[in-house]
């Protein structure tokens, strides 16, 4: 059984991390596309139309893999987590079903209308279609995160008939943990998309190809990137406070805080030692900062890991390091976006900055993956925090089946991912048509 749990977790991790390579670009780029096309409709300037077409092509190549890898996740709950599905389907399943009915239909229908409708629809109707895609994909994310937020902080349920049944739908919809998580996720996705636009624009600007076109793209994306990077950090801080309130053991693991203390510092350099339940290095400390970040009070007490039974600890090293790397990347994003913002009106951006922005394209992807790792690994050993353990959630299927499907996922996903990146790169480098 332990093998099946581990293999199923690995498989879910592969499926969800791969899915989330494509989703954030869809969330953010759809908004940027809608903005570009709105500018086209309001100003009549053809450059905005070329922008929408150029970035739209990349959007569509990315979109398809987002869709198909999303279906995988809907299958996963049933194939690999059937005990979980039976236990919480009353609440969790309905959120997924509402997502499909309310948002995903809208998104999929209008993305096709938009892609195939350039010559068939009026300007305004066509622009309306991309707004529908942007709104629907961002709504779709809301329902998914309400579902995930419920796993992080379950609300509005009652245990009846041997399962968790819905008692208060409104409480599920207004789950404060989920809304904080949603804001953080959406803003980071929009940031990712603006770094995508900045990076590709910088690549062309450094080569002086389509200078005017890409300078305008750069000018649109730079302020967006900076605002989103700042708000991602702010909402991240808010979410940290929610974690402190609702999942204190996750917070302790994120900070590798072993002992219960007041006036807890942040150590800029810190290396946890899981085996000895202590930190082997603590240096460059800022006194009281962690207490302040978690509770808004420099003297607040933070419970250490040792205050909780060890069976309830998440994997400390993974949670700690993922959190550290995510935060470090977040700082880099603010700095880079700030530099891009200052450069946005210059005739030529510096070659070093251009190169840095090109190399920065994959970084938000990493940042988001580490963020999700904190959220999901940090929730362990629970699948639903405090309610159901991951080990009780797995399907009664033979380990051999899961091994085969895991290998199949890795092979197929790697293959498709490589082709997709190849095509994205090809069309990104090709530049806009006439």
């Amino acid at each position: 059984m332990d093998d099946v749990v581990l293999l199923s977790r690995l498989q879910f991790a592969v499926a969800v991390l791969f899915h989330f390579i494509f989703v954030p670009l869809t969330l953010g780029l759809s908004v940027l596309l809608a903005w570009m096309e709105t500018r086209y409709v309001t100003t009549g300037d053809e450059v905005y139309k070329r922008m929408a077409k150029f970035w739209g092509k990349l959007f569509l190549i990315n979109f398809t893999l987002g869709v198909v890898t999303g279906i995988t996740l809907e299958f996963q709950f049933g194939t690999n987590w059937s005990r979980y599905s039976t236990y919480v389907g009353d609440i969790f399943g309905s959120l997924l079903a509402i997502e499909a009915t309310v948002a995903f239909f809208l998104e999929s229908t209008f993305v096709a209308v938009w892609a195939f409708g350039w010559n068939r629809l009026g300007k305004k109707t066509h622009c309306f279609a991309i707004w529908m895609v942007a709104i629907a994909s961002n709504c779709s994310a809301l329902w998914i995160i309400l579902a995930n937020g419920w796993m992080q902080h379950p609300v509005g349920y009652v245990i009846r008939n041997g399962r968790a049944e819905l008692q208060d739908f409104f409480a599920v919809l207004t789950n404060p943990y989920a809304w904080g998580q949603y804001a953080h996720t959406i803003l980071s996705a929009w940031m990712l998309a603006s770094f995508f636009v900045l990076g590709i624009s910088a690549w062309h600007l450094a080569r002086k190809s389509n200078g005017d076109f890409f300078r305008r793209c750069f000018r649109m994306a730079a302020p967006f990137a900076l605002i989103c990077a700042l708000l991602t950090a702010l909402t991240g801080h808010q979410q940290g406070m929610a974690v402190a309130k609702y999942q204190p053991v996750k917070l302790s693991a994120m900070e590798a805080q072993w002992e219960t203390q007041k006036h807890v510092p942040v150590h800029l350099l810190q290396i946890p030692d899981r085996a000895n339940k202590m930190n082997s290095l603590e240096a460059l400390s800022v006194p009281g900062l962690m207490s302040w970040m978690a509770y808004g009070d420099v003297n607040a007490e933070i419970k250490g890991l040792k205050a909780f039974p060890e069976t309830d600890w998440p994997p400390v090293n993974t949670t700690f390091w993922s959190f550290r790397v995510m935060v470090a990347l977040g700082v880099i994003f603010i700095l880079l976006a700030g530099v891009a913002f200052l450069q946005r009106n210059k005739e030529e951006i510096g070659p070093g900055i251009a190169r840095a922005l090109v190399w920065a394209i994959p970084l938000p992807y990493l940042g988001l993956a580490f963020g999700w790792t904190v959220a999901e690994v940090g929730r362990q050993p629970w699948i639903v925090h405090g309610l159901m353990r991951t080990t009780d959630a797995v399907s009664p299927v033979p380990a051999g089946n899961v091994v085969l499907s895991l290998i199949a996922f890795i092979v197929v996903y790697s293959l498709l991912g490589l082709i997709d990146i190849y095509l994205l790169r090809k069309y990104a480098c090709q530049g806009p048509g006439r």
């Binding site: 198909v68 299958f75 599905s85 609440i91 995903f104 009664p396 197929v412 095509l423």
Partner: protein, 346 residues
């Protein structure tokens, strides 16, 4: 009857309806892909076939996601047992659908030697195999699968490929091929249009024979007819199927192709409901012991969830149908030479 039971029955019917609409819509995509190697000889013909599914396939596939989501929401136990018991076939189905989707998107994006041939093969398999697998899966659901009282599956992948399961697979492939040929006749011009109509005319008698054979096998292998003997009114479903299938032939003769396609759609809806209503109240029938069957009554969500979900469905499904209908109208008419020149077409 209690409110709870009425809700459970309503959701069972809605569950069947979502599958029926899914097969009605994605069915023609399956048919187009299956017919691709037989009807698409030139590059232009192939591209017309791709673009005949072009703006539709993605929106069509969402009906599957919705059907899956609704199974999860309204019948969590049925969802859990179905997906874990049919682990291997459902993941194979998933992979075929993944490959199908990327074959639409990738084919026209590169000109390397062998590239389009590769994705044409993937497009064929990505439509033929899901059609076959859905047929095998549903035939096995009609028949019952070996699950115990905990919903644990006691069979193997090979056992699903029993004669009745395979008959279901062949049946689905053929009805979707007919449905796809009719759709292509609406979406093409000239030589390809002629070939599509000829394919529909040629497929019709085969579909008729296989339908009769499948109905016969159903009597032998399953209990589906018990419900029809008990509640003859349910016979409306198979009657619709018969009307649809005969309608296809009549409309083909009189050259009313849109009506022929609609009749084929009616046939598909009738066939789906014939199976689903025959299973009622069973959703995952246990072939080991009838008491272990997951039904609409023992596998459903709570009354509150069913009520909320019904509200959501009654408001949003009609809205979805409206804008999808608008989308179908917007892109109505054959795929022309002019459309293929559009840089966003497949």
């Amino acid at each position: 009857m209690e409110t709870y039971q009425i809700l459970q029955i309503a959701w069972f019917c809605l569950w069947g309806l979502l599958w029926a609409v899914y097969f009605l819509l994605d069915g023609f995509d399956f048919g187009l892909g299956t017919l691709l190697p037989f009807l698409g000889k030139t590059e232009e013909e192939k591209r017309v076939i791709y673009n005949a599914a072009g703006p539709y396939w993605d929106g069509n596939e969402v009906w599957l996601i919705s059907a899956g989501g609704v199974t999860f929401a309204a019948f969590p136990k049925a969802y859990a047992v179905m997906f874990s018991a049919l682990y291997a076939p459902l993941l194979i189905l998933l992979f075929t659908l993944i490959f199908r989707a990327v074959s639409y998107e990738f084919r026209s994006k590169e000109t390397l030697p062998g590239w389009t041939q590769l994705w044409d093969t993937v497009q064929f398999l990505g439509n033929f195999l899901p059609a076959l697998l859905f047929g095998v899966a549903f035939a096995n659901l009609f028949r019952g699968i070996p699950i115990d009282q905990y919903g644990i599956y006691h069979g193997s992948l090979i056992e699903l490929l029993n004669p009745y399961g395979l008959a279901g697979g062949v049946f689905f492939v053929l009805i979707f091929a007919l449905h796809g040929a009719l759709w292509l006749s609406l979406k093409s011009e000239g030589g390809l249009h002629t070939k599509a109509v000829a394919a529909a005319i040629g497929l019709w008698p085969i579909v008729l024979i296989v339908t009769l054979a499948f109905l016969g096998l159903t009597a032998y292998y399953t209990n589906l007819y018990a419900n029809y003997l008990k509640y003859p009114l349910l016979g409306v479903a198979p009657l619709l199927a018969v009307v649809g299938l005969l309608g296809v032939r009549c409309c083909l003769t009189s050259g009313k192709l849109l009506l022929a396609w609609a009749s084929s759609g009616l046939f598909i809806i009738g066939v789906t409901f014939f199976g689903v209503l025959g299973m009622f109240p069973g959703m995952i029938i246990s072939s080991m012991n009838p008491a272990w069957t997951v039904t609409a009554f023992n596998g459903s969500s709570s009354q509150l969830t069913l009520t909320i979900m019904l509200g959501v469905a009654l408001v949003f499904v009609p809205i979805v149908i409206c804008y999808q209908f608008w989308m179908y109208r917007t892109f109505a008419g054959p795929v022309t030479h002019e459309h293929l020149k559009d840089e966003h077409s497949y």
